[in-house]
């Protein structure tokens, strides 16, 4: 699967897309493939603050529960409610319909320092 050029990535396998100060966050194709079938997603609430590098939720697969680390700092303005009833979206479309949260960025400059699509693919050996 392609890793979109307009996303930025973390070594903890999250992606982030900054659109005019509001960022959409998800987990990568590589992450979902390693996790296996995802059965439950634990997300923050709208209004919660998340901090770059800190855990803000978790995904549970048939193998393990894994933390999701914030790629950027900001306030949660939307969560993807559909994942509650359909966590399989994270496996099927991790870069689109399986997005996790949208965040109003408080430090937009953080984004530029994350991995590019090329860097990330090199990092995972794709």
């Amino acid at each position: 699967m392609a890793y979109p050029e307009n996303f930025r990535y973390t070594k903890e396998h999250e992606w982030v897309l900054d659109e005019a100060g509001t960022a959409t966050i998800g987990i990568t194709e590589h992450a979902q493939s390693e996790l296996g079938d995802i059965v439950y997603v634990d997300l923050p609430k709208v209004g919660d603050k998340i901090t770059q590098g800190a855990s803000f939720g978790s995904v549970e697969s048939v193998k393990a529960v894994s933390d999701i680390f914030a790629p950027c700092t900001g306030e949660v303005v939307a969560i993807n409610d559909s994942l509650t009833s359909a966590p399989e979206k994270l496996n099927q479309e991790p870069h689109t319909g399986g997005w996790l949260v949208k965040v109003k960025l408080s430090a937009p400059e953080e984004i530029g320092k994350l991995l590019t699509a090329a860097d990330y693919q090199q990092y995972i050996g794709a």
Binding site: D37, V39, Y40, V62, K63, A64, V65, E88
Partner: protein
Amino acid sequence: MIRKTRQHLVQNEGLLFEQSSPGKKAYQLPALDVPEVNPEEALAGQTRDGIEGFPEVSEVEAIRHFTRLSTYNYAIDLGMYPLGSCTMKYNPRVNEAVARTEGLAWAHPYAPIEHVQGCLEVIHRLEAYLAEICGMDAVTLQPAAGAHGEWTGIMVIRALLESQGNPRKKILVPDSAHGTNPATAAMCGYEVANIPSNDKGMVDVSALAAAVDGDTAAMMVTNPNTLGVFEEQIHEVARVLHAKGALLYMDGANMNALVGLSRPGDFGVDVMHLNLHKTFSTPHGGGGPGAGPVAVKSHLAPFLPTPRVVLRNGRFELEENLPQSIGKVRAFQGNFGVLVRALAYIMAHGGPGLRKATLDAILNANYIRKHLADHYQIHAEAPSMHECVFSDDKQSPHGIRTGDIAKRLIDYGFHPYTVSFPLIVHGALMIEPTETEGKQEIDLFIDAMKSIAQEVVDDPQLIKSAPHRTRTPKVDEVTAARKPVLRWRP
């Protein structure tokens, strides 16, 4: 070839609720020989007529129901249970006989101290034996199981640090840790920081040294770690932590590799827990009861849970006046029946016997490792202790993963090994035979694993669709987790 199992008639069995018929009962009471009392009056109306949906069956129906269900199960009494990190060893029947001794089994927790001196001696003596085995100074037997022991141990650390004026902020865990370790740290109000393993599968001491600072409360280490590898630099790990005023906590889940050979207290551990239901051969599985004693060095002893059993002038007493204690963590004296079994196990073996059991456990794991090394990818080159960890790297090119192999192993008459743990191993197969197994059973296991490795090459679909010889065919675990049906009647 499958040598250990063959097909066998198994009875179908419905739910007990479905067998219910009004008026059936499994008891018969004698005629009343005391004046009748109206329960509603006696209990001020706090009564009810019945329990909706409560099944009504005869005695033989209840007996058959549960006996049939029990035949669907796999147990250590049926065969090897190589579940890594769980130490599923056999529970000698003598432990059960001792635990059923009238004075121990029927003791009441509110009985006067004079009536339960023997019970208190069991606790006092077991604490002393566990302290000796671990090289520690004081032990509490209250925690109900391993994770509860971890929580108690970290609360004790927190209490010590608070008494020094600063509880500190974070706890370090290696990336190979049991999942309960970071969970415990978080439950006790600490941030968790991961320390990577080096290429030998051990804690990277230079990464540790860089991570430890004045905010570090402790590091939680399992030794041998979850790869079944002894942390060779554990002294150095302790030294680095202690130099910054941080403590070393040891998760005792793998103590079955150390008893009689090496004492955590001697290699720098400040606080640790034991799992009596793993290492000390008490019943395990089905949710317990377990017991997770916590052992500490003397400077942490004042913070242990209250009350403490003390011996004064030849009489056992319960000491409640412990101002620095973190308080009670469990009702009464913990899961006392488990404590009795553990004491019986320790006393029946004696020091040399416990040491022999450890050596046998290590020998068994290494025997398996040696015989499977050509068929499965061994993860760490470092020698194995009581368990060995492979990856499915040789099988995954055929589309077969560790979970598929585990399902096929059921057809061969074995409980699966631990699947996909530790997480740092891609597609882990974690195998712990324990000292329980003799060569015959272990050879059957090795043959089964070799046979499966060949099937992976010859007929991967056979593995993908396993198990085939079980009562229930392959279950859909994903749908069960995503859309669980939690009620008998919707």
